[in-house]
């Protein structure tokens, strides 16, 4: 097997001087093209884990090796690495003072110094991909939740990341809008994008995931192919968890 894209070693996040252990020693390798779905009860540390991958959450200790460099090292240029790690948030976090096009092109123009016309052409292609070309000149407040999230995905993709991180991307959506966002994510997975997805959508995990991970009390309690994970769970906490969520 080729070198992993992201190698996480002994990742820990402690609060109150170690009294609260949000992450308690996570080890995982994420390979190119994988769709890793992270599930777990609320407060288990799954979001903290995802947010640690691009250091939005500062880990207490541990290594995150991305592109062959430990991005948690003191002298690592985290801003450079973050350009390669797209992130999609539960609450979209679109920039309300910018149009859809402005949202998507801001980072490519400012950070990659791509000329505006070129960045906008690229943005239109991404809008085409998320089926929202007609919203280019709209402001975020004029969009539905599902549309906002699709724009947020396009915005992250505009930096041409090598991995996409999704932090409960459908949790804040009305039920009828969940499908349109998941469809985009499925397309993305099919195109070969490496993805790490924290979600409660077990259907998505089953259908699109190449690997499913169960986190509880800040530790990975089980990881397996979706089929084995759902049909043959071994950890008692996972069995209990799966019996409680609708699949």
């Amino acid at each position: 097997m080729e070198e992993a894209l992201i190698k996480v070693r002994n990742l820990k996040k402690h609060y109150n001087g170690g009294k609260v252990k949000a992450l308690d020693g996570i080890d995982i390798d994420i390979h190119q093209g994988e769709v890793v779905v992270v599930v777990g009860p609320s407060g288990s540390g799954k979001s903290t884990f995802l947010r640690s991958l691009n250091l939005l959450e500062q880990p207490t200790e541990g290594e995150i090796i991305f592109d062959g460099e430990d991005i948690n090292a003191k002298d690592a240029d985290i801003n450079k690495h973050r350009q390669k790690m797209g992130m999609v948030f539960q609450h979209f976090n679109l920039f309300p003072h910018k149009t859809v096009l402005g949202n998507i092109t801001l980072a490519p123009i400012q950070l990659k110094k791509i000329p505006k016309p070129e960045a906008e052409a690229q943005a239109m292609k991404l809008l085409n991909m998320v089926h929202l070309e007609d919203k280019a000149t709209n402001y975020p407040s004029q969009l539905s939740g599902g549309q906002k999230q699709r724009i947020a995905i396009a915005r992250a993709l505009a930096m041409e990341p090598t991995v996409m991180l999704f932090d409960e991307p459908t949790s804040a959506l009305d039920p009828e809008m969940v499908g349109e966002v998941l469809d985009i994510m499925k397309d993305l997975a099919k195109s070969g994008m490496t993805m790490v997805v924290v979600t409660h959508e077990m259907g998505f995990a089953k259908e699109v995931g190449t690997r499913v991970i169960f986190i509880d009390h800040g530790q990975i309690k089980e990881e397996n192919t979706p089929k084995e994970f759902f049909n043959n769970p071994k950890d008692p906490r996972l069995q209990d968890f799966l019996s409680k969520v609708l699949i």
Binding site: K80, M87, F89, Q110, A156
Partner: protein, 243 residues
């Protein structure tokens, strides 16, 4: 003598005789000069204080990890700013003015200059909190979205946070301007003839309190009402651009 004739006599006595209306004009000029220059000092210094404090709040943990002298400076700066805010906001502005005139700038005889410095330093504390409040009012998710795209702290501030925060900041800043105009009314304590002092001086000469003091009050009121109308227009426009 009916009330109209009495009014006219009073008016003549207080403003026309001895060209006393010129005192009012001079006082008004000083009030405006002190207010505008104090506000300029307040905004410039306030932005610096707000920048130090919000950087410490939002980016301190990041800089601590990286270590080096930058974090130490930031920490010291933050402590100094907090001390400054506590002292300035915890003491009356008249006392600050007197300290400035009789202790710190004791060699400066120009009262207007001393008043500008004193009110400017006072205003800076309030302006700083207005800016910091504006920055802090923007959802943390905006900040994270910027950082996740690869923007550094300053880039995130300038491209994403400040353009949004300015809509919260501008009306409050304008309000501070209005407050400041009224605050400068104590400039007479250090021998400055501002608008209030001018009215009081006339009262002392003519022994007629009603006319000069009410006139002074009406001038303040007129300025404040005018500026408040402008503020409302400004807020309306900002709301419109929110969509």
């Amino acid at each position: 003598m009916n009330w109209f004739d009495k009014f006219c006599n009073d008016f003549t006595l207080n403003f026309i005789e001895g060209d006393r209306w010129k005192w009012i004009l001079e006082g008004l000029g000083n009030t405006i000069i002190i207010t505008i220059f104090a506000l300029i000092i307040g905004v410039l210094l306030g932005i610096i204080i707000a920048a130090v404090r919000s950087t410490y709040d939002k980016n301190g943990a990041d800089m601590k990890k990286r270590g080096g002298p930058a974090y130490v400076f930031l920490k010291i700066g933050n402590t100094l700013c907090n001390l400054y805010l506590t002292v300035v906001r915890g003491t009356p502005s008249v006392v600050q003015l007197l300290i400035m005139y009789f202790i710190i700038l004791v060699n400066v005889t120009n009262g207007v200059f001393v008043a500008i410095i004193a009110f400017g330093l006072n205003s800076a504390a309030y302006v700083a909190e207005i800016f910091r409040g504006g920055i802090m009012s923007i959802d943390e998710g905006q900040f994270e979205a910027g950082r996740s795209l690869g923007f550094n702290y300053l880039q995130t501030m300038f491209h994403i946070i400040l353009p949004q925060a300015i809509k919260v900041i501008l009306p409050s800043l304008f309000n501070e301007f209005i407050t400041l105009i009224k605050e400068t009314a104590v400039a007479g304590y250090v021998g400055v003839m501002d608008l209030t002092k001018a009215g009081d001086k006339i009262r002392g000469r003519t022994f007629s309190a009603f006319m000069p003091l009410i006139a002074v009050a009406l001038i303040y009121l007129g300025i404040v009402v005018l500026l408040t109308q402008l503020l409302k227009q400004l807020e309306k426009r900002l709301r419109k651009s929110e969509r």
